[in-house]
Amino acid sequence: MAVGLPESASVRGARALAVARAVEKRFGEIRAVRGVSIELEAGRIHAVCGENGAGKSTLLKVLAGMLVPDAGEVVVGGARLDPHTPREAIRRGVSMVLQHFALIPVFTVLENLMLGAEPTKRGALDEASARARAQAIADDLGVKLPLDERVEALGIGDRQRVEIARALFRDARLLILDEPTAVLTKSEATQLYATLRRLVQAGKGVVVVTHKLDEVRDHADVVTVMRRGELVFSRPLDRDGDVGAQIDAIGSAIMGAGSVAHARAGDAATGAGDAAASGGGEALVMEGVRVGRGLVDLSLTLREGEIVGVAGIEGNGQKELVAVLGGDVAPDAGIVRGGPFAIVREDRQTEGLVLDASLRDNVVLGELGRFARWHGGIDREALEREARARIERSGAPTDLDRLARTLSGGNQQKIVVERALSRSARVVVAAQPTRGVDLAASADIHAKLRDAAARGAGVLVISADLDELRKLASRIVVLARGRIVAELPPTATDEEIGRHMLGLEGERFDGATP
C-alpha cells in the first residue's frame, strides 16, 4: 500500500516510531500501568498480550496521546509528544483503533473516514478525491467498504474495517489496533494480517493487541507481554528457533506462574450436547422465519441441553437472528416458539451495559422488578446479595460501586455473560460470548455455557471463531443469506464450513427461490 512515503530513518538512527519510558498511569487507586518502557518500531508487527485488565489498552492509549501519563515520557517521531493529545499523535503519524469504536453511527462510512482528516482542496474537503482515496485504501485492504452506508447499519466486523481504513486515511505510520480480530473469523483475521504485513513492508509500524496466541505464532515479529500493569517482557520472536516453546513461554508469562496447562485442559473438554442425544424436549423452534431482508426463511430447532453453534459471515442474518430472539423485532413471517430467553448481545458497550452505572446496577440490569416490593421500593439487601454472588462468579473485579466504564473490555464482557447466564432461561443465545476475553476467562465462559446446557437450557452460540463453535457445540449450523444452509458435525473442517458460509454449496437450497 502506497499511502504516504516510507519513513526515512529518524534522527536518532533508531527506527522507533514511538517510545514509552517508565510510563505510569493510575486511575484513582488502580495502577493500570506501572513504569513500563517499550519501543514500537517501523517494519514490524508488534503483538501485545496480557490478561484482561493487564493494562494493554491503557498503555497504548498513552502512546497514542489519548491518556496523559502520571509519570514517565512518550517520544513520538524522535521528540517528546507535546502537547500530549491524540491530535498531535496523529499529526506525527500515530493512529489508534480503539477496542470499542469511535465511529459516528449516523454518519456514512465515507463521512466517518473524512472526519478529522486534513482538508484537501483550498481548505474544503474534497469529496470526490476522498472517495477515490477511500476506494484505493479499501482495494489495498482487500475489502469492500460500503462508503455510502450509515455506520449504524453495519455489523461489528465491517465497523472494524472502517476503523482501520480511517487510520490509514490519516496517513498513519504507526497503526495501533486494539483487539482487531476479536470478532473476525479466522480467514478474515488472516486476511487482515496479510494487509498488515503489506503495510509493514511499506515501512509502517503495526501494533496489535490480541488474546489469540495462534495469531502471535503465525504473524508477530515482536511480542510484548503485560501483567498487572507491568511489562513482563518485550522481545522479537525468533523464527529460526523453537517457536512452539516461545509461544508456551508467552502463555505462561501472560498468566503468571504456569497455569496455562490448566486453562487449556479446562477448555479442551467437549462433550456438551451429549444431553441432546438423550432426547431433551424442544427449547426453541423457529419455522420459516423472515425478518426484513436479513432473515429470509430460517428454520431451526434447539433442544434442551443442547449447544448449537451458528457459523456464518457477518451480515448474513446474525443481527436479525439475535434481534428476533431478543424480542427487539417481531418476525415478518414464520413462527418462533420457545423461551424464556437470556441474550448475550455482541456489542457490550451500546447494548449490553450502562457504562455510567455501577457494576451493581449492571449485573442485574433489567431485573429490578424482581427486587421491588409492593410499594415500588427496592429490597436492597436481596439485590446486594444477588449482585455480589454474580460479580464473584463473573471473575471481573468485585467492587460493586465501580462504574462499568472503568472496567477493561474483557472484564466488561464477563459481566454481560454472567448476567445472562444467571437467569434461569430455557434458551440462552450468546453472540460472540468470549469477544475480547483472555484465555483463562474464555475457558471459564465456555464452562458456564456448558453448565447452562447441562442444567437443561438450549444454548445457541453465534461466533466468528470456528474453534470456539467446534469446542462447544454438538452441531454447527451455517447461516448464509438469511437462512440456514447447512448443518455440520463439530468435526467439520474450516474449509468445509467455509464453503457453506460462502454459499458455494448452497445452490441446491436456492433452487426454488427467485
Binding site: I343, R345, G352, L353, D356, G366, I378, Q412
Partner: protein
C-alpha cells in the same frame, strides 16, 4: 506539569456550576459598570437587600420556593434523558386548578383534608398537562422539547380563556380565595424573624420533596430504571424494560412535581390564583436543574441563588433597572447549558456514540 495545571483549570471552568457563576459575576460587573455604578457597591447592596436582613432572607426563600419545585421537576425528567421545557405550562394549569378547587371546597373544610385535596388537584393538573407530550413521546416518539414548548403556549391561552369564561371572579382575572384550610401558613407564624416576609411553609415542603425524590431515585424501581434509561436507553430496551412507558411516566411525574410549585404561589402566598402568578418559575426551574446537577443540595443551592438574584434585583432597583437581574439569570442559564453534558445528550436527536470505555 504546566500542561496539567492549565488543563485542570480549563476543566474546572467547564463544570456547569463554576462556568455559570463565573459568567454571572462577569456579566454583573460589566452591566453595572455600563450603568455607571460601581460593581462592588452594587454587590454590597445586593447582599444587604437579600441575606443582610432576616426579612431579605425570608424573601429569598419565598422566591426560591417555586423554583425548587420546578427545578426538581426538570431534574427528574433530565435523569431519564428528557428535557421538560414545559414546567411553565404545567405550573400554570396546576395553579389554576389549585385556585379553582381550593376555593370551591366547603368553607370550613379542615386543613388535613383541604390541603391534600387542593394539592392533589394541582399536581394532577400538572401531570395531565405533561401527559400529552408524554403520550406523544410514547406513541410516536415525538421529541418532548417541541411538544412541551407547544403545550406552554396552549396553557397560556387556555388559562386566560378559562378565567375569562367563568372561573375568575366577575370583572377580574383571579379566582376566589381558597378556603382557609387549603392555605399554607406563613413561616412568620413560627419564626418571628421572618415577620413581613412572604415565605411560607411551602419552602419546607419543597426541601422535603427534594430530599424524598432524591432518595426515591436511589431506592425505588422506577427511580433507578429511569436513571439507567437516561444513561443508556438501548441497553435497557435490550433487557426488556418498557423504556417508552417509563419515559412517559417520568414526564408525567415531572409535570406533577412542577404543579406542586403552586404550594408556594397560590396556597402559600396569594391565597388565590390570578393570571400570571408564578410565571417564569417554570423556566427558572430549568436553570435550577442544570445548575443543581441532580443532587438535593445542588438543587437547593441553585434555587437559593436564583431566588437571591430575583430578590436582589428589587434591592438594586433604585440604582440599576431590576431587569438587569433577568439578563444576569439568562447569562447564567446559557453558560450552564453550554457546559452541561446531560442537556446536550437530552437535546441532540442523534446521540453521538461516546467511546470512552476503558478496555
Amino acid at each position: 506539569m504546566k500542561d496539567v495545571a492549565s488543563r485542570a483549570i480549563g476543566d474546572l471552568f467547564r463544570t456547569p456550576a463554576v462556568a455559570g457563576l463565573a459568567a454571572g459575576w462577569l456579566a454583573f460587573c460589566l452591566l453595572v459598570w455600563l450603568y455607571g455604578a460601581s460593581p462592588r457597591e452594587m454587590a454590597g447592596l445586593l447582599f444587604e437587600g437579600t441575606w443582610g436582613t432576616s426579612y431579605g432572607a425570608g424573601q429569598v426563600l419565598f422566591k426560591a420556593t417555586p423554583l425548587l419545585f420546578t427545578g426538581l421537576a426538570v431534574d427528574l425528567a433530565l435523569r431519564a434523558g428528557l428535557f421538560n421545557i414545559g414546567a411553565e405550562g404545567q405550573l400554570a394549569v396546576a395553579s389554576l386548578a389549585a385556585g379553582v378547587v381550593g376555593s370551591r371546597l366547603p368553607h370550613g373544610t379542615p386543613a388535613i383534608v383541604a390541603l391534600p385535596v387542593t394539592l392533589a388537584a394541582a399536581m394532577g393538573a400538572g401531570a395531565a398537562w405533561a401527559a400529552v407530550p408524554a403520550l406523544m413521546k410514547a406513541r410516536f416518539g415525538a421529541h418532548e422539547v417541541i411538544s412541551t414548548i407547544v403545550m406552554n403556549r396552549i396553557a397560556d391561552g387556555l388559562v386566560g380563556l378559562l378565567l375569562a369564561s367563568g372561573l375568575a371572579l366577575a370583572g377580574s382575572v383571579r379566582t376566589a380565595d381558597v378556603v382557609p384550610g387549603a392555605r399554607v401558613p406563613r413561616l412568620e407564624v413560627a419564626l418571628s424573624a421572618f415577620r413581613g416576609s412572604a415565605v411560607s411553609f411551602a419552602i419546607v415542603a419543597a426541601v422535603v420533596a427534594t430530599v424524598a425524590v432524591m432518595v426515591a431515585h436511589e431506592r425505588t424501581r422506577f427511580g433507578r430504571e429511569i436513571g439507567l434509561i437516561g444513561k443508556n436507553a438501548r441497553a435497557m430496551e435490550a433487557e426488556h424494560v418498557p423504556v417508552r412507558r417509563r419515559l412517559a411516566q417520568a414526564l408525567v411525574a415531572s409535570g406533577a412535581v412542577a404543579g406542586a410549585a403552586s404550594l408556594g404561589t397560590v396556597l402559600g402566598y396569594k391565597g388565590y390564583f390570578e393570571e400570571g402568578l408564578g410565571a417564569g418559575a417554570g423556566f427558572g426551574g430549568i436553570a435550577v436543574a442544570l445548575l443543581g446537577r441532580g443532587s438535593a443540595a445542588g438543587l437547593v443551592l441553585a434555587a437559593l441563588l436564583f431566588g437571591t438574584l430575583q430578590q436582589g434585583g428589587l434591592a438594586l432597583n433604585a440604582h440599576v433597572p431590576k431587569e438587569l437581574m433577568d439578563v444576569l439569570q439568562g447569562v447564567v442559564i446559557v453558560a450552564v447549558a453550554l457546559t452541561d453534558v446531560r442537556l446536550r445528550r437530552a437535546v441532540s436527536a442523534a446521540p453521538v456514540a461516546s467511546t470512552k470505555g476503558a478496555g
